[in-house]
C-alpha cells in the first residue's frame, strides 16, 4: 500500500538564490498524524505547499497516495483537505454559505450541517464570516477543508494566534479526524501542539530535516527526560564552571543562556543535591532553581542553539 504522502530529495530555490527547502525526504503513512516542527522561516510552509501541489519544487518527487501532481491533479484533490496559513475567507458570506461553496467543489462532500456540528459552529451557521472571532474563523477554515470528506488533511500552522481554548478545540477536531482513519500533516512552531497531536514529527530548520521520530524518541535522544535550570551569583557560565556542572552525576548535557544554566538530566533527585554542593563550593549563591520535563523545545535548542520561537 502506498504511503499517504511521500517526497524524495525535495528542493526549492527562489530566484536561484534563496534555498527554502534543501533536500527533504519524508514518508507519511496512512492514518498518521505527522508534524513539521520548526521556527519561522524554516521552510515548513514552502514544503507543505509543494506537497499540496500549490507550488512547483525546483527538484524532487512528490507522491500523494501513490499519485503524482503531474497527472490526475483534479482526482488527487478530491482526497485532500487543505487549510492554508492566514486565508481570509469572504466576509460577506455566512458560515453555512462558505461551507456549502467549498462542498460544491467536491464530488461527494459531507453535509454542511454535519460539518457545522463537528466543528461546533452550529449556532453561528447563519452569521457572517466577518463577525466571527479568531478561533471561530480558524474552525471555519478547517471546516472548509473537512467538508470534502478528505483522506488527508493538510494544516499549515492551524492554531497560530489562537487563545488556549480555541487551540484545544481544534486539537480535538484534528484528533477525531484521525480516529476516523484520516491522515494529517501539519506544520507548527508550537512544541506543545507537536507533542500532543503528532505520532511522528520532523524537526525542520533552514530547509532541512535535522531530526525525525516520535516525540518521545526525540526527547529520548537528549539522553535525559528532565531539565534542571538554575541561576547562580558570580560566574556560573564560564568554561570551568560549565565543566563542573557537566561532571555532576546524571547530567547528559549542559547549556547556558544569559546566565541561566540548563542541565539535561536523567533523574533530578540524583543531580540536585550534588549541584547545591558544587554551587556552594564555587562560592556562589543559588538565585533560582527549577526542574521540569524535557520538551521538544529543549530538543530543538540542543540541536540548533536557538529557540523555536524568537521571544
Amino acid at each position: 500500500m502506498p504511503a499517504a504522502i511521500e517526497c524524495r530529495d525535495l528542493r526549492k530555490t527562489y530566484d536561484g538564490k534563496v534555498e527554502a527547502v534543501r533536500g527533504l525526504n519524508l514518508r507519511i503513512e496512512r492514518g498518521e498524524c505527522f508534524g513539521l516542527l520548526g521556527p519561522n522561516g524554516a521552510g515548513k510552509t514552502t514544503t507543505i505547499e509543494i506537497l499540496e501541489g500549490l507550488l512547483d519544487p525546483t527538484s524532487g518527487e512528490v507522491t500523494i497516495l501513490g499519485h503524482t501532481w503531474q497527472k490526475n491533479q483534479r482526482e488527487v484533490r478530491e482526497w485532500l483537505g487543505v487549510s492554508l496559513q492566514e486565508t481570509r475567507l469572504s466576509e460577506k458570506l455566512t458560515v453555512r454559505e462558505t461551507i456549502e461553496l467549498f462542498a460544491s467543489f467536491y464530488r461527494e462532500p459531507r453535509s454542511a450541517d454535519d460539518v457545522l456540528d463537528d466543528l461546533q459552529l452550529g449556532e453561528k451557521a447563519d452569521a457572517f464570516v466577518g463577525k466571527l472571532s479568531g478561533g471561530q474563523r480558524q474552525r471555519l477554515a478547517v471546516a472548509t477543508a473537512l467538508v470534502g470528506n478528505p483522506r488527508i488533511l493538510f494544516l499549515d500552522e492551524p492554531t497560530t494566534g489562537l487563545d488556549p481554548q480555541s487551540r484545544r478545540q481544534l486539537w480535538d477536531i484534528i484528533r477525531s479526524f484521525q480516529r476516523n482513519g484520516g491522515t494529517v500533516l501539519l506544520t507548527t512552531h508550537y512544541m506543545d501542539e507537536a507533542e500532543r497531536l503528532c505520532d511522528r514529527l520532523a524537526i525542520v530548520d533552514h530547509g532541512e530535516i535535522i531530526a525525525e521520530g516520535t516525540p518521545s524518541e526525540l526527547i529520548e535522544r537528549l539522553g535525559g527526560h528532565h531539565v534542571v535550570e538554575f541561576e547562580a551569583s558570580g560566574n556560573s557560565s564560564d568554561g570551568s564552571a560549565l565543566d563542573s556542572w557537566r561532571g555532576l552525576p546524571g547530567v547528559e548535557s549542559v547549556r547556558h543562556d544569559n546566565g541561566l544554566v540548563s542541565l539535561t538530566v536523567r533523574e533530578p533527585h540524583l543531580t540536585i543535591p550534588p549541584l547545591l554542593d558544587a554551587v556552594e563550593k564555587h562560592g556562589s549563591q543559588l538565585l533560582h532553581l527549577t526542574t521540569r520535563q524535557a520538551s521538544l523545545e529543549d530538543v530543538f535548542v540542543n540541536l540548533t542553539g536557538r529557540h523555536l520561537r524568537e521571544l
Binding site: E49, L54, L65, R74, V82, K92, L101, S104, R110, P150
Partner: protein, 367 residues
C-alpha cells in the same frame, strides 16, 4: 487499473450527496451575486452613479429655447437709437441689451458677461466690438446686426421660411446615454473582475480555491456569467431611465442592444482579467486599472464627440475598445443599425477581449 479502483477502499466518513458537473459553477455565480448584494457601496457605484451622472448632465445640458445673447450698449449719442431698433426687431426676445459706460462695458465684455459691445460711431451708425475666438460673440454680432438692419428697414431679396425640428435623437442626452452605458460596462468590467481577483489573490482565497478540485475554467466562467447577469441590469436601468425621464427613443431592438452589450461586457472582462493576472496588491492593480481607463474616458466619446480631436489621432481613438463600443451602441440605440453593420467595431471588441484573455491565461498567478 483505473484510478477509481486504485483509490483507498473506504472514505473517511460516508458521503451524503453527489455533486453534478456544474455544482461548482452555479455556487460560484450565486455566491458572487450574494456578495454584491450585501455590499451597498458597490451597488451604488455600479447602478446608482451612472444614473446620477445621466440625470445631472442631462439637466445641465438640456435643450433650452434659443440662448439669449447679452449685449452691452455704450452710453452716448446713438444709444437711444440702438435700443429702440432692437425693441422693434423680431429678435428682441433673444437679445438682452444693457446700457453701460464705456469702461464698464469693456470690462464686462472681457469677463464674458457680455458677448458683444455696441457703440455709436457718431455718424448715425454703429461699431461692434466682438471676439472672433468666442462662438457666442460671433453669433451675437451676426444676430444683433441682423436685428438692427431689419428694424432699420432692410428688405431681404430672397424669400425664405423656417421649420422647427425638435425630435429626440439629436439632443445631448441622446448622445450621452449610450456613452454612459459603454463607460459603465468598462468600469464594472475592469473593477469587478480586475480588482476582485487581485483582492482574492492577496487574501490567499485564490490559492485556497485552487487547492480544491474546483476547475479553474469554472471559476472564470462564473466570473463571466456574473458579469453578464449584471450587464443586463446595468443596461436596462440606464436605457429605462433615459426613456422614462428624458424620453429617449430607443430605435434598435432590445436583443441587439443586449448582444452588443454582452460582447462589450465580456471584452472588458477579458481586459480586467489581464490587468489582474500578476498584481499582488490591490494598490498596484488599482493604479493599473485607472491608467487603462482614463484615456478612454477622455478619448472614446463618452461625454463629447471624439471628432473634436485632431484627425491624425482619429485612427488610434477608433481602435480603442470603448470607442468601438460607444459607436456601436449609438448606432444601435439611436439609429437602429443592425448588428451586421457594426461588425468592424464588434471585431475590435472581440480582439481586445480575446487577446487579453489568452495572455491572461498564460500569465495568471493562481497561487
Amino acid at each position: 487499473m483505473s484510478l477509481a479502483q486504485e483509490t483507498p477502499a473506504t472514505p473517511v466518513r460516508p458521503p451524503i450527496r453527489r455533486n453534478g458537473r456544474w455544482s461548482a459553477f452555479s455556487h460560484l455565480v450565486t455566491v458572487r451575486m450574494k456578495e454584491l448584494k450585501r455590499e451597498p457601496e458597490v451597488v451604488f457605484w455600479v447602478f446608482g452613479f451612472p444614473l446620477l451622472l445621466a440625470l445631472g448632465l442631462g439637466i445641465a445640458f438640456r435643450n433650452k429655447p434659443a440662448d439669449v445673447t447679452f449685449v452691452a450698449i455704450v452710453q452716448g449719442s446713438g444709444t437711444q437709437d440702438a435700443l429702440s431698433l432692437i425693441e422693434r426687431s423680431p429678435q428682441k426676445s433673444s437679445i438682452h441689451a444693457e446700457l453701460l459706460d464705456k469702461p464698464a462695458a469693456l470690462k464686462g465684455f472681457r469677463l464674458g458677461k457680455y458677448d458683444l459691445v455696441v457703440e455709436s460711431d457718431g455718424k448715425g451708425g454703429f461699431q461692434y466690438l466682438y471676439d472672433p475666438a468666442r462662438p457666442e460673440s460671433v453669433l451675437s454680432r451676426a444676430e444683433v446686426d441682423d436685428a438692427l438692419q431689419v428694424a432699420a428697414g432692410r428688405k431681404n431679396p430672397l424669400p425664405t421660411s423656417s421649420v422647427i425640428s425638435n425630435e429626440p435623437g439629436s439632443r445631448y442626452i441622446d448622445f450621452l446615454i449610450p456613452g454612459l452605458i459603454g463607460m459603465n460596462l468598462m468600469n464594472s468590467g475592469m473593477w469587478s473582475i480586475g480588482f476582485a481577483l487581485v483582492d482574492m489573490r492577496q487574501r490567499k482565497l485564490l490559492k485556497r480555491f485552487v487547492a480544491t478540485p474546483m476547475r479553474r475554467s469554472d471559476f472564470l466562467l462564473a466570473l463571466a456569467g456574473g458579469r453578464l447577469v449584471l450587464m443586463i441590469a446595468e443596461v436596462g436601468l440606464l436605457l429605462g431611465f433615459g426613456a422614462l425621464v428624458f424620453h429617449i427613443r430607443v430605435v434598435g431592438s432590445l436583443l441587439s442592444i443586449l448582444i452588443l452589450s454582452a460582447i462589450g461586457a465580456v471584452g472588458f472582462a477579458g481586459l480586467g482579467l489581464l490587468t489582474a493576472s500578476r498584481a499582488q496588491k490591490i494598490e498596484s492593480v488599482s493604479g493599473l486599472i485607472n491608467l487603462i481607463m482614463m484615456p478612454m474616458w477622455i478619448f472614446s466619446g463618452v461625454f463629447f464627440s471624439y471628432e473634436r480631436f485632431p484627425s491624425v489621432i482619429q485612427p488610434f481613438i477608433k481602435a480603442l475598445p470603448l470607442t468601438a463600443l460607444n459607436d456601436a451602441l449609438r448606432a444601435t440605440i439611436l439609429e437602429g443599425a443592425p448588428l451586421a453593420t457594426q461588425a468592424g467595431r464588434l471585431l475590435i471588441l472581440v480582439l481586445w477581449g480575446g487577446i487579453s484573455f489568452l495572455l491572461a491565461l498564460r500569465w495568471f498567478r493562481w497561487t
